[in-house]
């Protein structure tokens, strides 16, 4: 038998072995629906009392479908807050599942508060007493222009990385949480000054704002602590990274609210972070997250959520990127006008009259005129959108 035949036999044998191994040991990943018969629809309660004037909100939901974010607001509950001096603050249900304190109610630093809920069916729930801790000021917010490297799941991008630093806290101020909101300006193409209803041209005063502002809260949980620090303040803690986009075209800013947490609250949010972001190897034991609210009527009933109390300090910072300036494109169906007199507008459908550059136009579509119909923004400029914004980073 010649060498060629022997080699061919070896190749065939090896191929058969490899294919067999692949076929035998092939593994597949399948989606399935687990049996969740023992799992009930559970109550989810959240609320935080601060030292700012109300209304402060308590939300009560019931998980409706296992594995889904569709949750049902719980209406008709009797909700009140007690303090450690025996005072009671009743809450009113202003929208389904959302219960508010009076606007005049503000929590007191050092006081302890407890949440009390009674549902329509008679079940009673109660939180632990939580102390309203004071919080130091935010020392500084920083915005640094960086280029974020690509990762396995996302491409690299340039943008702004934001940081927060706190002022020196006392021995009780160890745990911190930040809620971060982003706000940015966008503009509508037309400066509207009048409205034509088909017969009458009416001046609009004040002018309809063409500078619009969007507001969004980041979902990420930002927490930190000074437990092992020699000095009780946090410096240069990374918050969100915002990649460059049209958000930076006119003005972009983040507004940060800083809270002081109890150790229990801090551990709660830390556990929530761990559960939300299992590492790729799924190498940590996940667990059910239970807060500080219990069912008094049935101690075996599981209740999700947490009741908190904290003072608040806040600060904002702005930034923009000039290289992202884009021309403003027209919007909707417009008619060029030679003048702004009723006779110029005869035979025209109702619409708004304004300037588009040097040109006068009539436009019919609301989304080209009003911020709220165009992206859901408002015409209210955030207070901190002053000239302290960073241009093109540090």
């Amino acid at each position: 038998m010649n060498v060629y035949c022997i080699n061919m036999r070896r190749i065939i044998k090896l191929t058969v072995i490899i294919v067999s191994i692949i076929l035998i040991f092939q593994s597949c990943i399948y989606e399935f629906t687990p049996k969740t018969g023992d799992l009930g629809n559970l109550l989810v309660i959240y609320g935080i009392i601060t030292n700012e004037n109300g209304p402060h909100e308590i939300t009560i939901l019931k998980t409706k479908r296992i594995n889904s974010k569709v949750n049902e607001p719980v209406k008709g509950a009797n909700v009140s807050i007690f303090d450690d001096k025996g005072n009671t603050v009743p809450l009113t249900e202003d929208s389904v599942g959302k219960y508010h304190t009076p606007e005049t109610f503000a929590g007191q630093i050092g006081a302890k508060y407890k949440l009390n809920i009674e549902l329509q069916e008679g079940k009673k729930y109660e939180s632990d007493f939580v102390e309203l801790l004071d919080v130091p000021d935010i020392s500084e917010l920083e915005a640094e222009k960086i280029i974020k490297p690509a990762t396995g799941t996302s491409p690299g991008s340039s943008g702004y990385q934001f940081y927060v630093s706190t002022k020196l806290g006392n021995s009780e101020q160890i745990y911190y949480k930040w809620d971060v909101f982003e706000e940015w300006e966008y503009r509508l193409p037309y400066k509207i000054s009048a409205y034509w209803d088909g017969t009458v041209l009416a001046q609009i005063d004040p002018l309809i704002p063409y500078q619009c502002y969007m507001h969004n809260q980041f979902n990420d949980i930002y927490i930190s602590n000074t437990k092992n620090f020699q000095t009780n303040y946090i410096t240069h803690y990374p918050l969100n990274f915002t990649p460059g986009s049209s958000k930076f075209q006119y003005m972009y800013g983040i507004y940060v609210r800083q809270y002081a947490l109890s150790e229990f609250s801090y551990n709660y949010w830390y556990s929530a972070m761990e559960n939300n972001q299992p590492d790729p190897l799924y190498s940590k034991i996940p667990y059910q997250l239970i807060g500080n609210i219990k069912c008094i009527s049935n101690p075996n009933e599981t209740v999700f959520g947490i009741f908190e109390a904290s003072a608040v300090k806040s600060k904002g910072i702005t930034a923009y990127l000039t290289e992202l300036e884009d021309p403003i494109f027209p919007c909707g169906y417009t008619i060029a006008l030679s003048g702004v007199r009723p006779q110029d507008l005869m035979n025209q459908f109702p619409g708004w009259v304004g300037e588009y550059g040097p040109q006068l136009i009539l436009v019919h579509e609301k989304e080209c005129v009003f911020c709220k119909y165009n992206g859901g923004g408002t015409g209210i400029r955030p207070d901190y959108f002053e000239e302290n914004g960073l241009k093109n980073g540090k």
């Binding site: 076929l23 989606e31 998980t63 594995n67 974010k69 949750n71 809620d179 990420d220 996940p286």
Partner: protein, 401 residues
């Protein structure tokens, strides 16, 4: 001694466990880690006796005294009393040289069984045992790939002490054509271990900070019927088997599932096994093997909700969910070679189909959040029928063992 069968002796086992190393591949940012191994020596002396008291009554018993030493080389930390073991509660550390005794345990194992022959066809057995175990396996049901590890008892993990009781009834029917048996058992274990909530399964240098000590209980019963003769032989057995843990500590960190009993990783209540062999011709036989068991428990993501604009993924209680039930049917055809008496070797072909129904049995389970809902996935190996053909031979002829 008449009617006695005495056995005695001595044994000694040196355990050496190497947890391995964590080596990143290529240019990963993960830091390389090599973990300290474990070493222990277990020595024991034992004495056992089987005594036929009467032709109908036979007893068997034994004692085993063991001495266990947990040995260096190892760095051992001391922690604050009455506080959970963690990096924050360390007060001191001691480096033990190689083979130096760090901690010693000892214990007496007892076993006893009694068999009573009611008559030639019926018998009853009862048994009791008390034993100490110095090595155990830490398992979990959450990771995609195996992260089980062996662990030796150390200053923080005491020996597992088990007590078991069992009672059985056995009967032969139709002149030994059928064997029927029924057994029940109950076992309690102290000092069992399981991972804490949030424990790190992979990169864990100091495992004592991530495991808890608690109690376990196992109970169940088994029914079996076996056919010994005829063209169709085999057996069928059903067993009900519960295995539960309970960890109730002084703090929430040291407690699992509010301190209630919960299914252990091995809890599979219902199990059925059927083995059947059919031989109509001397040279041809067909075998079937059927296995069924309740799906094993796992902890999975089950709730999604929003708190203060933060999306929260919440999980079931530990081991509250179950993977789909396991079942598998295998079939094989056996064809023997010729039946000549004088031959050097006897050959036979076996054609087997493993997992004839192509059942997708779960190997592991994991969950992900996608598009605002929780998706649960299982990894399944051998999810299709697997065919095999083998050629076998043995020295001798058809009747040789």
């Amino acid at each position: 001694m008449p009617n006695h069968e005495l056995k005695f002796g001595f044994n000694s086992i040196l355990y050496q466990i190497n947890p391995g190393a964590f080596n990143p591949v290529d240019s990963s940012n993960y830091q390389e880690k090599t973990f300290e191994g474990e070493k222990a020596l277990e020595s024991a002396i034992y004495l056992g006796d089987t005594y036929d008291i009467t032709p109908k009554i036979s007893v068997s018993g034994g004692l085993r005294y063991s001495l266990y030493n947990y040995l260096g080389k190892k760095t051992v930390f001391s922690y604050l009393q009455n506080e959970p073991l963690s990096a924050e509660t360390i007060i001191d550390s001691t480096v033990y040289p190689n083979f130096k005794t760090i901690k010693s345990y000892s214990g007496l194992d007892i076993r006893f069984s009694l068999r009573y022959l009611i008559n030639d066809y019926n018998s009853i057995k009862l048994g009791y045992s008390h034993n100490n175990q110095y090595i155990f396996m830490l398992t979990n049901t959450i990771s995609i790939s195996p992260t089980d590890r062996w662990k030796l008892c150390d200053p923080f993990s005491k020996p597992i002490v088990g007590e078991q009781y069992n009672l059985g009834y056995y009967r032969n029917l139709d002149k030994n054509k059928y064997d029927v048996s029924f057994e029940i058992y109950y076992k309690e274990n102290k000092n069992v271990s399981d991972y804490k909530n949030g424990a790190d399964l992979v990169q864990n240098q100091y495992i004592e900070r991530d495991i808890l000590s608690g109690n376990g209980r196992n109970y169940g019963f088994e029914f079996m019927i076996k056919k010994n003769t005829g063209k169709l032989t085999g057996w069928l057995n059903y067993f009900y088997s519960k295995s539960e843990f309970r960890f109730k500590g002084n703090t929430d960190e040291e407690t699992i599932n509010q301190g209630n009993y919960y299914p252990s990783n091995y809890d599979k209540p219902h199990n059925i096994n059927i083995v059947a062999n059919y031989r109509n011709l001397r040279r041809v036989s067909i075998s079937a093997n059927f296995v069924y068991s309740t799906g094993r428990p796992y902890t999975g993501a089950t709730y999604l909700y929003s708190l203060d604009n933060h999306d929260i993924v919440n999980y079931s209680e530990r081991n509250q969910l179950r993977v789909p039930d396991y079942f598998r049917l295998d079939l094989s055809l056996n064809i023997d070679g010729n039946l000549f008496r004088k031959k050097i070797a006897h050959s036979f072909w076996t054609v087997t189909v493993y997992n004839l129904t192509g059942r997708k049995n779960a190997y592991s389970v994991f969950t992900q959040v996608k598009d605002g809902s929780i998706k649960t996935y299982m990894v399944s190996i051998y999810s299709v029928p697997v065919f095999s053909i083998s050629y076998n031979f043995k020295l001798g002829n058809y009747f040789s063992n």
